[in-house]
């Protein structure tokens, strides 16, 4: 029996051994793995003072669901830039923002409803699901690259999207408790490693949009605007004040050459736009966001100016280092402080 299927058994054995070895290596380097889960520091941190947990589904300092009188609640609608699971939770900007405001004498509760890969549609969905129970006062929106990726795949890659209508936008699949081999395979370190190596290679093979086609750009702007309008409307439905945050990148100038590892990172996430095209679309996205903000009377918090172009504050084109998180939180606190004080005054 073994001899008959030896080739298959050896193949499976090598795969299992290879994955195990890669997971041990990845775990030792502080990454979350399929077998060993989250790194020890993150797990212990999450267990007590910080979420997410079953009762507090946010990656920020734990707060009770019942509102505390006079303490504003700030909802962060973002993605990996604010979740940043590879950073200690104490060092990510939503947590630092709460600390920074506290240091300035302003007590707030931050609900960091951000998750890697989420785009504005998903932020809206989460806000709808949890917003009523957690009743935020402010909704801070810091989103861009995931929406650009999705819009690019619809317009450049011509991938048919089910709908752009937020009211009927389907939920992305939630992590399932059922045994799902594809989901498990996607969580393996071997898969992650191969994707990160092969993604840029395939990206190099295909023609890429350089963000200079007026027709596509106009359609992209329209879609991005619709997405921002959606999150503003949702925040207002909940009685909260929406605010948009300008998006910061390490190399904002499309003409400036990107370091190869940064370019590879962009191609992994978005193989349809060239590095220059991607940066042009960030500008396009920024213009769209501002035009919606102006039309809707929503403030844009100018945080990007403090970080834009400072490569040392980024681990890639748009995720921060610990220092980047600190500066981002500080700058955001600068923007929020007068608004929060004005709010306090108005309530008195």
């Amino acid at each position: 029996m073994f001899a008959r299927y030896a080739v298959i058994l050896w193949t499976l054995g090598f795969l299992a051994a290879g994955e195990f070895a890669l997971e041990v290596r990845a775990g030792a380097r502080g990454f979350r793995t399929l077998l060993f889960g989250a790194p020890v520091s993150a797990a212990t941190a999450s267990a007590g003072e910080f979420g997410p947990s079953a009762r507090f589904p946010f990656r920020s300092r734990v707060a009770p669901q019942e509102r505390r009188a006079g303490v504003p609640r700030i909802w962060i609608a973002s993605a990996s830039y604010a979740e940043h699971v590879r950073m200690p939770v104490e060092g990510i900007w939503p947590v630092l923002l709460q600390d920074e405001l506290a240091a300035r004498g302003l007590t707030v509760e931050v609900l960091n409803a951000s998750q890697a890969g989420w785009e504005l549609h998903r932020s809206v969905r989460t806000l709808r699901q949890l917003g009523e129970a957690w009743a935020p006062d402010l909704v801070l929106v810091y989103q861009m690259s995931n929406d650009l990726d999705r819009v690019a795949s619809a317009l450049v890659g011509r991938v048919i999207e089910p709908t752009e209508d937020l009211a009927v936008a389907p939920d992305p699949p939630e992590p399932s408790s059922e045994l799902n081999p594809t989901e498990i395979a996607r969580q393996t370190t071997a898969y992650e490693m191969m994707r990160s190596k092969l993604g840029p290679l395939v990206g190099d093979l295909r023609p890429q949009c350089d963000g200079q086609e007026p027709g596509i750009n106009a359609a992209a702007a329209e879609r991005i605007e619709a997405r921002f309008r959606g999150v503003i409307a949702c925040g207002r439905e909940l009685g909260a004040t929406p605010m948009l945050i300008s998006f910061a990148t390490a190399y904002p100038d499309p003409e400036e050459p990107l370091p190869p590892e940064f370019a590879a990172g962009l191609k992994r996430a978005n193989g349809l736009l060239s590095p220059a095209g991607w940066r042009r679309w960030v500008r396009l996205g920024d213009r769209s966001m501002r035009s919606v903000a102006a039309a809707e009377g929503v403030p844009v918090l100018e945080v990007a100016t403090a970080l834009d172009g400072r490569e040392e504050l980024f681990v890639d084109q748009y995720h921060f280092t610990l220092e980047g998180h600190r500066i981002f939180a500080e700058r955001l606190a600068d923007e929020l402080e007068p608004r929060l004080r004005a709010r306090e005054e108005a309530k008195r």
Binding site: R4, Y5, V7, W10, T11, L12, R158, T182, Y191, R206
Partner: protein, 469 residues
């Protein structure tokens, strides 16, 4: 559950190991394979498993009744019931909306604004394949070319055998039922050959078909209005090799999987772009479908036994229906008609060529001409509307300058073409040397590396093209 999915990576070894454990117990093996086949099918849409079950029960029952009767009229009536049931299912699920749309357009052209009913049922995966398979059984039985199958389990397994259930090869009852009736022994050498064949198919699918699609085909066909002429042409050439690698890759995996279970499936491709004329192309491309159409449609229509006009009619009817078999859309209909016209012309040209004492054309030239004729058909196959066809033709004729395609992608296309034109024996020999001459642990290491490579490149890519048919 695609063949290039993590699910299949778990499913196949599990089925093979259970199949191995049931060695010597054929009934148990048949039940196992039947259950595995239904699980495989239900992974797409569990509700439509009832359709296969329905077809199975109907044709099994009709077959038994046909075998029990010597009355020709009754036998013919039973055959008609089988044809009506199976083709009726196809008509409802696959063609109803298309014909309703076409009739609506025709009525609108006549000035009648009539809203015809449509359904919103999903097309069951593989319905075209298993319908033709069950039909081959009842037709062969009616012709008394095969014996009736008395075991419902074996018959159900013939209809639903998972390796070829959703995209062929279309297996005839005369080819497969005898294999189910005799005990199968699975040898280590068979498993090695089968696994090597599976990986050959996966490599074709992932490294050729999917990469050509992502780098040359999809970008060109997604930007028909603005793409450079050279990109449009390259996109079409790439599509010819994409669809070949995609579909023949699927067939390789199906044949390899069946081999690991001890069953032989018919070959479905034989380097089709080496054909010297379109007739030969149809003996090398999707062989199981073209031979099915020949035996169950073209010959019963009269084949080439009648007048020239009648033969042309038979050819055109067969190819148009063959085109429609691929999908209920105008482009497939036109693709079929195009090949019908080519075959009619090809017959005439062959007759004229036969009159000559020494053919002037070289084999190479014939092959090049034939390939480009087939390529014209692929354009009809790839576009999704007549508007797109017009855009492609306009884009090429306008001689738009420039080229967006990356040189590496063009090299990939050249490599795919080179491998296709290599003598088959070279590829087969390399495959058998690897599967038979290298120790199992080393093969396992190579396959594990390939799984990583392929999984890394494919988990987010598309299903096989022929799944939609």
């Amino acid at each position: 559950m695609n063949f290039n999915s993590a699910e299949y990576l778990v499913f196949l070894p599990l089925v093979l190991l259970l199949h191995g454990l049931l060695s010597g117990r054929e009934r148990g093996r048949h039940w196992l394979l039947l259950a595995a086949s239904y699980i495989f099918y239900m992974s797409w849409n569990w509700q439509y498993a009832s359709l296969i079950a329905f077809s199975t029960f109907v044709d099994f029952g009709l077959g038994r009744a046909m075998a029990a009767s010597e009355n020709e009229r009754r036998r013919r009536a039973l055959l008609v019931v089988s044809l009506t049931t199976n083709l009726g299912l196809l008509a409802v699920f696959k063609y109803f909306n298309f014909f309703a749309d076409s009739a609506g357009s025709a009525l609108a052209w006549l000035g009648l604004d009539v809203e015809l009913p449509h359904h919103r049922l999903l097309l069951p995966v593989g319905i075209s394949f298993y319908t033709f398979q069950t039909l081959s059984y009842t037709i062969d039985l009616y012709r008394r070319q095969i014996e009736v199958e008395r075991s419902l389990t074996r018959f159900a397994l013939f209809v639903s055998f998972f390796p070829q259930l959703v995209a062929g090869p279309i297996v005839r009852a005369s080819e497969f039922l005898p294999q189910l009736s005799s005990p199968r022994t699975v040898r280590a050498e068979q498993v090695r050959r089968g696994v090597a064949r599976i990986f050959r198919g996966l490599l074709k699918k992932v490294l050729v078909a999917d990469l050509l699609a992502a780098t040359l085909v999809d970008p060109a066909f997604a930007n028909l209005e603005s793409a450079a002429s050279l990109d449009l042409v390259l996109g079409l050439y790439a599509y010819a090799f994409q669809i070949y690698a995609d579909f023949s890759g699927y067939s390789d995996i199906a044949i390899g999987t069946a081999l690991c279970l001890g069953y032989e499936l018919p070959e479905n491709f034989n380097r089709p772009y080496l054909s010297r004329n379109v007739r030969e192309f149809w003996t090398r491309w999707h062989i199981s479908l073209s031979s099915w159409l020949r035996d169950y449609l073209y010959i019963p229509l009269g084949g080439n036994r009648g007048s020239k006009r009648r033969t042309s009619f038979n050819l055109m009817t067969t190819m148009v229906l063959g085109g429609l078999w691929h999908g209920a859309a105008t482009n497939f209909l036109l693709w079929g008609a195009y090949h019908g016209a080519l075959l009619m012309f090809s017959r005439g040209a062959d007759r004229r060529a036969g009159d000559r004492t020494a053919p002037a054309r070289s084999v190479l030239l014939e092959r090049a001409i034939c390939f480009h004729l087939v390529l014209g058909g692929w354009l009809l196959f790839r576009v999704q509307s007549m508007e797109q066809l017009g855009q492609w033709l306009r884009g090429v004729s306008e001689l738009r300058p420039g080229m967006d395609a990356r040189p590496a992608a063009v090299l990939l296309l050249a490599a795919a073409a080179t491998v296709h034109f290599l003598p088959r024996i070279l590829v087969d020999r390399a495959q058998s040397r690897f599967s038979e001459g290298i120790p199992a642990p080393l093969q396992g290491a190579v396959y594990a590396a390939l799984v990583l490579l392929l999984c890394g490149a494919t988990l987010d890519t598309s299903a096989f093209i022929y799944f939609q048919f």
